[in-house]
Amino acid sequence: MHASNLASHRFGYSEPSLHKLAHDPRSWVLAQFQSPAEFDSQGLIDGAKAWQITRDVLQAALNPSPSPDNSQALDALGGMTSARQLLRKTNLHVLSKRWQHMTQTPTPVAERWVQFWANHFCVAATKGTTLALVWPHEYEAIRPHAMGHFKDLLRAAILHPGMLLYLDNAQSIGPQSIAGRRREKGLNENLARELLELHTMGVNAGYTQDDVTQTAKLLTGWTVGQNTAGLTRFVDNLHQPGKKTILGNIYPEGPQALDLLLTDLARHPACAHFMATKLCRHFVTDTPPAALVQSIAAHFRHTDGDLKAVAMALFSHDLAWREDHPPKFKRPEECLISAHRLMQKTVSNMEASVYWVQSMGQALARAPSPQGWPDLSADWLSPDAVLKRIQWAERYGEMYSKDLDARDLMQQAFGPNLSTSTAQTIARAESGALALAFALASPEHLRR
């Protein structure tokens, strides 16, 4: 892939034309981190409101009231209650603003950077308690910190109500805390383990079961719920008293221990290496060169996790710009966004688009585990997935081909990297709709 194609397709979300970045692709990428386009979150609900909407859905499911309209279709939670309708409307509204931003932003590489971190600190609506909280977690915790220091991003990500509920810390109680001694309640180590394994150090980085337990104790007190009106609070009565020893370091009792621990984790060499590995794998290639990973890890350490500096280091490294790395297979949502960017069309039918992304294997906001969506081509490229992408491309061809010339679109978007076989297949298509279907399902577009 030529440098301008790398910038447009591998690092970004596919530009409709290579023209504006062809003269200096690197500067086009790097400038995005100096002045990333802002996401307009005006009018979107905050985490506390999302918590209330979620609570109302759960309560309505627990105490079903007779529906005024018996013909309403039932859903998994027992009925399309008004709370459920509000949840659905809210989530679709946020998603549509999010997709609008992703398809129109002039700084798509910076947006990919945000999405990388949103997936790294995955919150999924696979539990009742997080149904409305996935997107607020992204725009309240991830976006404001994605170009800041890793430790601040980490803190915001794990203390957001979405994460406290998703990984159960909201309910975790120190066994010797005031609340713990009163009730038969205690620790839940879910967030503690994933904080070490998924968010910072990576698996096999040398922590033990005891470190996990001690971390869980340190995290007690950080909660969200009815008593806090959906806001994250440190509640002393829930906090496990005494010092905690984690990875050989001793932390005091109280809320201040969290910042000390997160600072230490963010500075741990395993954390820098783990973040660098994931970044290079996501942005460059499935098996990135060790020299690139080491270099990015070093930048991470030397800048104390300054993510903007890490991004600049990654996107100015020659190994990131090598033209012969095996390309990756786009995730379904990346595929949808890049199609809309190439066609310069907004996502007009939200529900249909959500369905298509799901049919291609990515149920939005419902990542299968706290690890987030997987990132290797083999995780996505399967027979069924290819078939679904072709079906999607066929449908998009029918929907969008009226005023588009697929030959021209592909020439503009891929230039010298457009293969003869793709160009010929498109040129020989029997209709404009089929031509666009071939374009969107082409290897050039499915891969990055």
Binding site: L187, N188, V203, N204, G361, L381, P383
Partner: protein, 388 residues
């Protein structure tokens, strides 16, 4: 391609194999598989593997109520009245069908089972379980994939992505329901031509087309839940030319909180799905073996939020018409504090690979050297699995 009878599948296989292989000894066999010799009767033996991602609590599914330490370990929470298996073990009341199969000697429970993995990461544990290695990331393909490849059998995973367990096989397919049939007959042909220089896309598309062409037509309107997928798996396995191996998976078992309530929904759903699988297999149940497994067990003791944290030893189920069932296969380690692993987990006494091994041998009829590549280093094999 002068023979007009050769289907476009064969053409695609040629694309998939590339020009170099077309002249090697492999080609006729592959063409035969894809074309004329489709009529060759496939094996009657069938295998279904169900992976419960997130770690099912084995002590909730199959409580050891006869263990002297049971009350001190689990007595604190409300345990639903379990169905009896024997003097020591019961079965969660949500697993009513499985309990009936047990009584009819068509299901065995393997308890205190785990892979050799002793840490508590879901992701590493699933990698090891699916790859079949003796540690995480020792192998990058799956044990089923290698067995399929060695035996030239085909399989279908009822999932959008190819599970690691099936990777490494040319004849592994994936399937999920679709709202939309392909309308244009030329579309797939054109796509195949366009993908000619992209090996992975070519192979995936060729498999998808083969699946569409013969055995794999699904009822439209099929749902996407486990129950619908399990029924569909039964249909695929019942088709005369269909695959003989199916893979199902379902997540959500990571019950760190509110475990009792969550399992009282999820276990009946699993039970119903397996009953639906059996129903759609119909007479083929007699030649089917079902393995239900999970990446590890959960902490034997409750955590502080009415749940359980990541543990070690857990449970697996073996069901089917040939299973010598009605037994709990276990070298029970006991739940006393000093018997437990790290004072908190059920100590595993049975390697899951020894459970997988006899299934692979029966399904694929592989010799010992091929078995070594499927499950490298696995020597022990669970005894007394089969009735016939």
């Amino acid at each position: 391609m002068t023979n007009p009878n050769l289907s476009r599948r064969a053409h695609l296989h040629q694309l998939a194999l590339g020009a170099g292989l077309a002249f090697s000894g492999l080609m006729p066999a592959r063409l035969a598989m894809a074309g004329q010799a489709d009529q060759k009767p496939a094996t009657e033996q069938r295998l279904v593997v169900v992976l419960l991602r997130g770690a099912l609590d084995g002590l909730a599914a199959v409580p050891a109520w006869g263990d002297p330490a049971w009350a001190s370990v689990r007595g604190r929470a409300e345990t639903p009245t379990a169905l009896a298996l024997d003097n020591t073990f019961g079965m969660h009341p949500g697993l009513a069908h499985l309990h009936r199969w047990y009584q009819n000697k068509e299901l065995s429970v393997v308890h205190a089972v785990a892979s050799s993995y002793r840490e508590r990461s879901h992701f590493d544990a699933q990698q090891q379980l699916e790859s079949g290695g003796d540690r995480p990331f020792a192998l990058s393909t799956g044990w089923l994939g290698r067995a399929l490849q060695a035996s030239k059998h085909s399989a279908v995973a009822l999932s959008a992505a190819m599970p690691l367990a099936l990777r490494g096989a040319d004849r592994a397919m994936t399937w999920t329901p679709s709202r939309r049939p392909n309308k244009s007959p030329d579309l797939l042909e054109g796509m195949a031509n366009m993908y000619a220089n992209d090996m992975a896309l070519t192979t995936a598309l060729a498999q998808a087309m083969e699946q569409q062409d013969k055995s794999m037509r699904a009822e439209p309107s099929a749902g996407a839940g486990l129950s619908a997928l399990a029924k569909q798996a039964g249909n695929f396995l019942s088709a005369p030319l269909g695959p003989r191996v199916a893979w199902l998976e379902v997540g959500g078992w990571d019950t760190h909180s509110q475990q009792t309530a969550r399992l009282s929904r999820m276990l009946p759903a699993l039970d119903e799905a397996l009953a639906g699988l059996r129903e759609s297999l119909s007479v083929h149940w007699a030649t089917t073996t079902v393995l239900v497994m999970t990446e590890f067990g959960r902490s034997a003791v409750w955590n502080g939020t009415q749940g359980t944290d990541h543990g070690t030893g857990g449970v697996a189920f073996l069901a089917g018409g040939q299973i010598d069932g009605g037994r709990v296969l276990t070298d029970w380690p006991g739940l006393g504090h000093r018997h437990m692993l790290d004072g908190r987990d059920l100590r595993p006494t049975q390697d899951i690979r020894a459970v997988i091994l006899p299934l692979v041998q029966r399904q694929f009829g592989l010799g010992s050297s091929a078995m070594q590549s499927v499950l490298p280093g696995a020597t022990a094999s669970l005894d007394n699995v089969w009735r016939v």
